[in-house]
């Protein structure tokens, strides 16, 4: 692969890494709440965060573009906070990716938390562990396969996204031009050799990611993210 793609590869990895990290941080409390609550809100909230599974990415991208734009509510907020406008920036891309990849991180975590059940938590409480202590020393270790699935699925899925990126990121080298967009450019320009290089690379990467997941995590097949 020529060095010309270095920028796109680095950008893609940076986007996927940051998105996955943010999703694990945000997803942990949200998935924990979804796994434990008996509130009626659980169902609508669950449906809302699963929306990216069924919506065309361009729809998500479009609404994000409108909301983040100069006349959108989020755009006015970011402007008043002195952050400027997010569309066609890397930050905007991260925001879009977080929303788009949310279910792929959230659902493995929620499944893992639900599978743990009440019993280990009760045992920990009778052994003097406070709820927070229990979360870090019982729940997190027991949910490890779920975290592995969530990380691999969130990362791989963000790497593969295209529609959202194109809508709110555009195609700015070293800022928003990620691999999937680059491939699209090559095909548009009838540069099939280059498109092959990148596509084969992504194919190999995706396969290796899933291979690693299934090897490290034999039960992961039951806990992986949703299928599209």
């Amino acid at each position: 692969m020529s060095m010309a793609y270095g920028g796109a590869v680095a950008l893609t990895l940076k986007l996927a890494g940051l998105t996955t990290l943010l999703l694990l941080l945000l997803g942990t409390p949200l998935a924990w709440w979804l796994a434990r609550t008996r509130s009626w809100i659980k169902v609508p909230v669950g449906a809302m965060v699963a929306l990216p599974l069924v919506l065309p990415p361009t729809v998500i991208g479009f609404y994000l573009l409108v909301a983040l734009g100069p006349h959108g509510p989020l755009g006015q907020l970011t402007q008043s906070l002195g952050l400027g406008l997010l569309p066609f920036t890397f930050s905007g891309l991260v925001l879009g990716s977080v929303i788009y990849s949310m279910p792929f991180v959230l659902q493995p975590l929620q499944n893992a938390f639900e599978a743990i059940g009440e019993q280990p938590l009760e045992a920990a409480a009778t052994l003097r562990a406070s709820p927070l202590d229990t979360f870090f020393h019982v729940v997190l270790p027991l949910a490890r396969p779920g975290y592995l699935s969530a990380t691999v699925m969130g990362f791989a899925h963000t790497i593969g996204e295209f529609g959202v990126v194109l809508m709110i990121g555009g195609n700015i080298p070293d800022s928003t031009r990620v691999l999937s967009v680059q491939i699209y450019d090559h095909v548009e320009a009838l540069e099939y050799t280059q498109a092959h290089w990148l596509s084969a690379g992504m194919l190999l990467f995706s396969f290796l990611a899933l291979l690693a997941l299934y090897t490290l995590n034999p039960s992961g097949r039951r806990q992986r993210g949703p299928q599209r």
């Binding site: 019993q119 045992a123 409480a125 052994l127 019982v138």
Partner: protein
């Protein structure tokens, strides 16, 4: 030290589920083993869970839980101590070990969370007591059911609890595994000065382990008292049916080595039991099932039955059709005999009558 008067276990609360209400007001001695006994669905486990704080009692039911001076819940002052701040040891029905930890790590989990100044029970002591030294390094998932339960008991004890709560720790085990664990539970009783609440629906376990019993029936306490007394109270279902029997506290008084027999004495007389490798003077618990006791008006001499005790009839009560349960008094020790109605009439048995009890079988239960 707290004054001796406070050495009580007090629990008063109400717990409502659809179609079921558990309402108790217990005041038990704060030492020894107390059994919560009853059929499944009678509320035994719920009772234990409320005392532990795992289940919240009904709001504003004036609940109050005090264990040897420690107030864990008091609705009157709005106090509710969370589970992890109560000095309890809790053993679940299915052990509930942490599968991501080894046996040693399971034991350390609770122990390290107790301040060193609060540790009264040493880890070595617990490991020896439950005989788990050989598998400390194993993963908890690789243990057998009996081993898991021993580790669970050890894990609870390692926190130096002020109250040990056991929720049918033997229920999930087969007879062989039960026999494997019972001796450890008995040692617990004799070696640690620790109040124990033991949930069970098996009369033989309770006879072996419990000093006092709480009988639960459909969410209500139907009787509280010494195990020995409740086992023979004819107004309770416990003293009826095939498994009914008396519990005798006796001491070893001699050995007849040539016959492989051991003599035991209790206030009502002496019994010969199968040879016991224990010294004279040691106490033991005997269980005499009602179906193994027959009655005669005069002492039999030409008989193979070794154990014949003079007793007095206390009360009679119908058992299964054609069968009568007879409560007997052997010099202060209650006994039960289950005989046919025909025999009752033939011997003209009435309360107060002096008769002889022929005991065909005695089980050593501790």
């Amino acid at each position: 030290m707290k004054p001796a008067m406070e050495q009580r276990l007090h629990a008063r609360f109400r717990l409502s589920h659809p179609g079921f209400t558990l309402q108790v007001n217990l005041d038990l001695p704060g030492s020894g083993v107390s059994a919560l006994f009853g059929a499944s669905g009678s509320g035994k486990t719920s009772c234990l869970r409320v005392i532990a704080g795992l289940t919240r009692s009904d709001p504003n039911c004036d609940a109050c839980i005090v264990v040897n001076g420690d107030v864990w819940q008091d609705d009157a002052s709005g106090l509710f101590v969370p589970v992890h701040q109560r000095a309890i040891g809790y053993v679940f029905q299915d052990a509930n070990l942490f599968t991501h930890l080894s046996v040693a790590q399971n034991l350390a989990f609770g122990m390290t969370r107790v301040a060193p100044s609060q540790r009264r029970i040493a880890l070595d002591q617990v490991v020896t007591l439950l005989g788990i030294g050989d598998f400390m390094q194993r993963q908890s998932g690789t243990l057998s059911g009996g081993e898991r339960q021993r580790v669970a008991i050890a894990r609870a004890l390692a926190t130096s609890p002020r109250l040990l709560l056991l929720d049918e720790p033997l229920a999930a085990l087969d007879a062989q595994r039960k026999a494997e664990i019972l001796p450890y539970l008995e040692k617990l009783h004799s070696e640690l000065d620790l109040p124990v609440l033991y949930v069970s629906h098996a009369a033989d376990e309770v006879a072996r382990l419990a000093d006092q019993m709480v009988l639960l029936d459909a969410g209500r306490v139907s009787a509280v008292g010494a195990t020995r007394e409740l086992m023979t109270r004819l107004d309770l279902p416990l003293a009826h049916g095939d498994g009914a029997g008396a519990l005798i506290h006796a001491t070893i008084s001699g050995h007849e080595a040539e016959y492989h027999l051991t003599l035991v004495a209790f206030p009502g007389g002496r019994l010969r039991v199968a040879s016991q490798a224990r010294p004279i003077g040691q106490s033991l618990r005997l269980r005499v099932l009602a179906r193994d006791v027959s009655l005669t008006l005069a002492p039999q001499v030409d008989t193979s039955i070794l154990n014949i005790l003079p007793v007095r009839v206390v009360a009679l009560s119908d058992d299964s059709p054609g069968q009568v349960m007879v409560a007997l008094d052997a010099g202060g020790t209650p006994l039960l005999a289950r005989i046919t109605k025909k025999s009752v009439d033939a011997l003209a048995l009435v309360p107060g009558r002096a008769v002889y009890a022929q005991v065909k079988g005695v089980a050593i239960v501790g």
